[in-house]
């Protein structure tokens, strides 16, 4: 009981206010990315409403904002173009099912393999993608559009110096709309971009044939959307955890995202996830509880359904200005300022993540690239930790090689190269009791060394192989036995 009160009603005034502020930042993203995805603005706006409303109840991170996002929209472009809207709804439902499954299987725990650099790269890529999505609204348009956009940005960033009581994006939207109407300017407006909601959404199952062919069409898209949605949600949740110094239930968040997407697909919305920029706006405005997310969703629906004719009058330039703001706020400027100071491998991982996303419009591929690359760099670095020293004993009849450090696929070659096979000697003793053999590659490297010495008619004795190979946890399964800690640390 106390946690329900704490999650919902401990911050009522600020949650309500910040919810309203956030709703205003949700509308431009929902609109802009419906257009990118090739669907009516209605689809994005319904999605924003239902994602925010459902996640307010099912999510694991109070205060985080979820809605229709650019990251997801970019993945559905081809599906919509080739197969139409109903398949998008079906894909959205399947995305939700996959997210529930992945959440249940512990996707949240995989996040520890996503390094800081990959997360920064993800945020930067997202910011760039959001910015690039605005470019179609800024090309082949009358010069008045540029003036309006610049004016909008000026209002957004300068108005807070006058008062912080009113959301400056709202002021920008209202002023620019009033100007366009009053001056009769001929610039593209929201109404030109397609149908806006004229009623509350209704619950309908997607109208697609339920067969294997449909699954083949939607599954790849749904899988990518499920992964990207969970990635952005987990990253945003961590960000909010830091801001508020409170923990979140990541597992519940994963499954909550799934439920929200299923509902969204069933009321005619496109898939969505958590949003970094809008969540930052929420925290900045004092939003902390579930009420802020719910308010954002409900206010958004009220705005677009009941003020629909007015929303249609909003010039696209005003929304572009708001989205440029979101893009600037999402980008991690420090990561570029410190590009040279950070380790080269970290910077390379970050840049590779950004580059792959911008090239493919697929944030999942970017993260995969980043994670693989950080894995390579790590393996390379750890592979350096290997020393082989040698000394003769028994009046030059025996040479003792002492191996310390990590032997695995990345260092196996250096391990072999450390032995002198040309030496004319009776016996070689290899002491590996202070080395770790991590995988089959390490063991076969040792076999190779033994074989090579035998060919030279040198007798080989290996000491401490049991201790060394104890680290091959998957073979000997010491990780779940008593004393595993000692085995791994003692030698």
């Amino acid at each position: 009981m106390s946690s329900i009160r704490q999650d919902w009603f401990s911050n009522i005034r600020n949650d309500l206010l910040s919810g309203v502020v956030v709703a205003l930042a949700l509308i431009p993203e929902a609109l802009a990315f419906s257009i990118i995805a090739g669907v009516d603005p209605r689809v994005g706006l319904y999605a924003a409403f239902s994602m925010a409303t459902v996640i307010a109840f099912t999510g694991g991170r109070p205060g985080m904002i979820s809605a229709a996002t650019g990251a997801m929209a970019l993945l559905m472009v081809t599906l919509v173009k080739d197969h139409g809207l109903q398949y998008l709804f079906a894909a959205t439902v399947l995305t939700g099912l996959l997210q529930i499954l992945m959440g249940w299987l512990g996707f949240a725990k995989l996040m520890r393999f996503v390094s800081r650099s990959v997360i920064t790269g993800f945020a930067n890529a997202l910011a760039i993608v959001i910015f690039l999505a605005q470019l179609p609204e800024l090309t082949h348009v009358p010069w008045t559009v540029y003036t309006l956009t610049a004016g909008g940005l000026a209002i957004i960033y300068l108005f807070p110096y006058v008062t912080k009581a009113v959301p400056s994006p709202l002021v920008a939207i209202v002023v620019l709309t009033a100007l366009t109407v009053a001056l009769g300017l001929h610039v593209p407006t929201v109404g030109d971009k397609g149908q806006l909601p004229d009623s509350l959404p209704v619950f309908l199952l997607p109208d697609v044939p339920l067969n294997l062919h449909t699954l083949q069409i939607i599954f790849p898209v749904s899988l990518a959307m499920a992964v990207v949605g969970l990635l952005e949600s987990m990253m945003t949740a961590t960000l909010i955890d830091d801001f508020t110094d409170t923990p979140s239930n990541k597992r519940r968040e994963c499954m909550g995202q799934g439920v929200a997407n299923i509902v969204t697909g069933c009321i005619g919305g496109m898939a969505g996830c958590a949003m970094i920029g809008q969540s930052v706006i929420n925290v900045k405005s004092g939003g902390r509880g579930r009420l802020s997310t719910l308010t954002a969703g409900v206010v958004l629906l009220i705005l677009v359904v009941f003020l629909g004719p007015w929303v249609a009058q909003i010039p696209m330039a005003a929304l572009v200005a708001v989205m440029i703001m979101v893009s600037i706020g999402t980008f991690n400027w420090n990561s570029f300022r410190h590009l040279r100071e950070h380790p080269k491998s970290s910077s390379a991982v970050m840049l590779a993540t950004v580059a792959v996303v911008v090239a493919t419009d697929n944030l999942a591929l970017g993260v995969l690239t980043g994670v693989l690359l950080s894995g390579f760099f790590f393996a390379h670095k750890v592979g350096q930790i290997l020393r082989v020293r040698s000394m003769t004993e028994d009046e030059g009849r025996v040479r003792v090689y002492t191996v310390t450090g990590q032997v695995f696929f990345a260092s196996a070659e250096r391990f072999i190269a450390a032995f002198d096979f040309k030496e004319v000697i009776d016996k070689v003793r290899i002491d590996v009791s202070r080395a770790h053999f991590w995988d089959i590659t390490a063991v076969s490297a040792l076999d190779k060394v033994i074989l090579k010495f035998r060919r030279e008619a040198t007798e080989v004795e290996v000491i401490g192989l049991n201790e060394a190979s104890a680290t091959m946890v998957d073979k000997f399964a010491v990780h779940d036995k008593d004393g595993a800690e000692d085995l791994l640390t003692s030698h």
């Binding site: 502020v21 912080k164 004092g286």
Partner: protein, 178 residues
């Protein structure tokens, strides 16, 4: 380590604190036990205090926001700590003046009941006010902390109602249940 067997006086910054202090001094001297004042400060990370509803985010907003929130929290906690310390110190002086010998004080972050459960082991008697700071605003006869504490702990609890008057008689409740 040997349990301290102290008398723990739980106080909040309300008029009941003085009564609790007086009764705790009386109990401690009768039991010949050390006395400790406990002041628990609630943290409310779920409450946002921002007055900035501009909704504008720009370059480095995330870093600035994190710094700003952390700084505000630091300032608030420091002020609370200082105020709490002065308050406890006053009670300590009062207890010493009333004849108590070993008087200590402690401030903790967290919830009262959870804190008491942690500390229970070293305690022989807990003294707390029947009502506390919310007495002015809520109409309840017994504060919510009293009920939660009684349910959660396994040590004797003395709930204090009003101005100190040495107890002269004692009523022993018995139930038929074993």
């Amino acid at each position: 380590m040997k349990p301290e067997n102290k008398v723990l006086a739980c106080v909040d910054q309300s008029r009941f604190a003085d009564f609790v202090a007086d009764y705790a001094v009386w109990a401690a001297s009768r039991m010949d036990a050390p006395l400790e004042f406990l002041h628990v400060i609630d943290r409310h990370p779920e409450v946002g205090t921002s007055q900035d509803h501009s909704g504008a985010i720009g370059i480095d907003t995330q870093e600035h926001l994190l710094e700003q929130i952390a700084e505000e929290e630091r300032a608030r906690i420091r002020a609370e700590r200082e105020q709490g310390r002065a308050f406890l110190n006053r009670l300590r002086e009062r207890a010493l003046a009333a004849g108590a010998e070993a008087v200590d004080m402690r401030q903790r972050h967290g919830e009262l009941v959870a804190t008491l459960v942690e500390q229970e082991q070293d305690v022989r008697l807990i003294v707390l006010g029947r009502r506390g700071a919310s007495a002015e605003t809520s109409g309840r006869d017994i504060g919510r902390h009293v009920e939660q504490t009684v349910r959660a702990l396994h040590k004797p609890i003395l709930a204090v109602t009003d101005v100190f008057k040495p107890p002269s008689a004692c009523c022993w409740p018995l139930t038929a249940r074993a």
